[in-house]
């Protein structure tokens, strides 16, 4: 199976690899895993407390090329977005952008989980209600 050019690009030149200070109240950390393949993904965001804009994002992923590309893309996308805008990113957006084949869809799901987990952690640290900024109301 061949990877798409975009996957190869993110894999060879991953954006935003690294670590943010986990103890800072402005930083949210999400650590998620896909046990089917043994992948682990850590995604961190730094949020401006005045504007709720995600000013920085870093990731570190141990997994296949698609998992690395999905998380690399996720950090690129969340940067500059507000919390509620970032919550609107779905795994389908990632699949489309990277042209992931069906067997790699779980990598995009993992990246979405990582964004949500990082935002969830930030909300907890800052006493923001968990459901605040939910992308779409279910009804």
């Amino acid at each position: 199976m061949a990877y798409s050019d975009k996957v190869v690009d993110h894999y060879e030149n991953p954006r935003n690899v690294g670590t943010l200070d986990k103890s800072s109240t402005e930083v949210g950390t999400g650590l998620v895993g896909a046990p089917e393949c043994g992948d682990v993904m850590r995604l961190q965001i730094r949020v401006n407390p005045e504007t709720n804009v995600i000013e920085d994002a870093k990731f570190k992923t141990f997994g296949c090329g698609s998992a690395i590309a999905s998380s690399s893309l996720a950090t690129e996308w969340v940067k500059g977005k507000t919390i509620s805008e970032a919550l609107a990113i779905t795994n389908t957006d990632i699949v489309k952008e990277l042209a992931l084949p069906p067997v790699k869809i779980h990598c995009s799901v993992l990246a979405e989980d990582a964004i949500r987990a990082a935002i969830g952690d930030w909300k907890k640290k800052n006493n923001v209600a968990e459901t605040e900024g939910a992308a779409v109301a279910a009804h």
């Binding site: 046990p35 850590r42 949500r116 969830g120 459901t131």
Partner: protein, 203 residues
């Protein structure tokens, strides 16, 4: 026909493996191509198909993990689908998705992967890091022990499952099914880790 039915077994997880093996050899002889050489082509082909089903069924059922996984699929467990719908539910409610793997294990997996990456980088530079090597050895022992623990835990769950089947207890059945999924997920992480650590240590 599913693999349990093929061997006329109930859908239980504790299996008498030596008895299964005997049955396998008996059926293999019965389906051996030599016995069908003089028979019509249709019969030869049917025997061949049966014998390939026999091999798949035997290989799956004799292995404890493959057997458990197979039963879960037969019971309608679709790991990837379930993970995806959990993500969708989290998205709709704006909440965080509940991870199926315990967070402490994820932390441990992540840390160990960092150490492994360091070890590989050192190796590439032609250096050996005795301290790192020692840490990895300790981690390896811990994960080996955990693998054995999960094995014992799995066997306890088999007993629960078999009891649920016998008592026709749907509640226990579902609970055991869920517990087995969690355990197998945990195990796949451990298995990958043990493999990667062994590779990095060159053992």
């Amino acid at each position: 026909m599913n693999y349990f039915e093929f061997f006329s077994l109930p859908r239980k997880l504790t299996i008498d493996v030596p008895a299964l093996e005997k049955q396998y050899y008996a059926l293999s002889r019965k389906l051996h191509p030599d016995r069908f050489a003089a028979k019509p082509v249709a019969e030869q082909e049917a025997a061949l198909a049966q014998s390939s089903l026999l091999n798949d069924a035997y290989r799956t059922l004799k292995d404890p993990i493959a057997r458990t996984q197979y039963l879960l699929t037969q019971e309608g467990v679709e790991l990837e689908e379930q993970s995806k719908s959990a993500t969708e539910a989290a998205r709709a409610s704006g909440t965080e998705k509940k991870q199926i793997v315990p967070p402490e294990l994820l932390e441990e997996v992540f840390e160990l992967n960092m150490q492994l990456a360091e070890m590989r980088a050192a190796k590439q530079m032609g250096e050996d890091e005795p301290e790192l090597r020692r840490d990895l050895m300790t981690a390896k022992d811990a994960f080996d022990a955990k693998m054995l623990e999960t094995q014992a835990e799995l066997e306890r769950l088999w007993a629960d499952w078999d009891a649920a089947v016998e008592a026709e207890d749907p509640g226990l059945r579902e609970a055991t099914k869920d517990a087995m999924v969690v355990l197998l997920n945990k195990r796949s992480y451990l298995r990958n880790l043990v493999r990667d650590v062994n590779e990095a240590l060159g053992v």
